[in-house]
Amino acid sequence: MVEHGGSLRRLHLEPDLINALERDYRQASLDPPEQALLAFAEALTRTPGSITETDLEPLREVGLSDRAILDAVHVTGYFNFVNRVALGLGVELDPDEG
């Protein structure tokens, strides 16, 4: 998502890392909490009906709090919402993105 690549650039993430995240986050060099968060976000996005309490265990194992897990669910849900608004209506990139 180019627009949020912009946000990550403004947060000083390396462009190589941003590209890796867009292509395949599993190939990116990430700390364990980030790997666990992204794997969870992927499962919740691709196969939401398959999520069970077991899927939260990797998040707890890397030290994420219940509040962090909640926030991850909210962020994942939010992007699934906003992506559908953009895709459903044909929203195009803004002038300074892309």
Binding site: Y25, A41, S65, D71, L89, D94
Partner: protein, 81 residues
């Protein structure tokens, strides 16, 4: 160009204009993803509020962690916005 009608900046009035103005002052334009919802102004504002709170509010996740999730989810949905 979005596939449904939107409230264009010159025709914006009242709450919609107030909402647009914060973007116009800061960016000089209204982001398409917000303007797309302009036929439902209460939802357009609620969306913005939800976005600000989830992505910029206090959290046990860092800003970077939250934006990484957004990037990966959007890639999975093939959304390039």
């Amino acid at each position: 160009m979005v596939w449904i009608r939107v409230v264009e900046v010159p025709e914006a009035q009242g709450e919609t204009l107030t909402f647009y103005q914060q973007y116009l002052d800061r960016l000089g334009y209204v982001p398409g993803i917000m303007q797309a919802s302009s036929l439902n102004e209460p939802v357009m504002r609620a969306h913005y509020d939800l976005y600000r709170k989830i992505m910029y509010g206090p959290s046990d996740l860092t800003r970077v962690q939250r934006e990484m999730i957004g990037l990966v989810v959007s890639s999975l949905n093939e959304c390039h916005y």
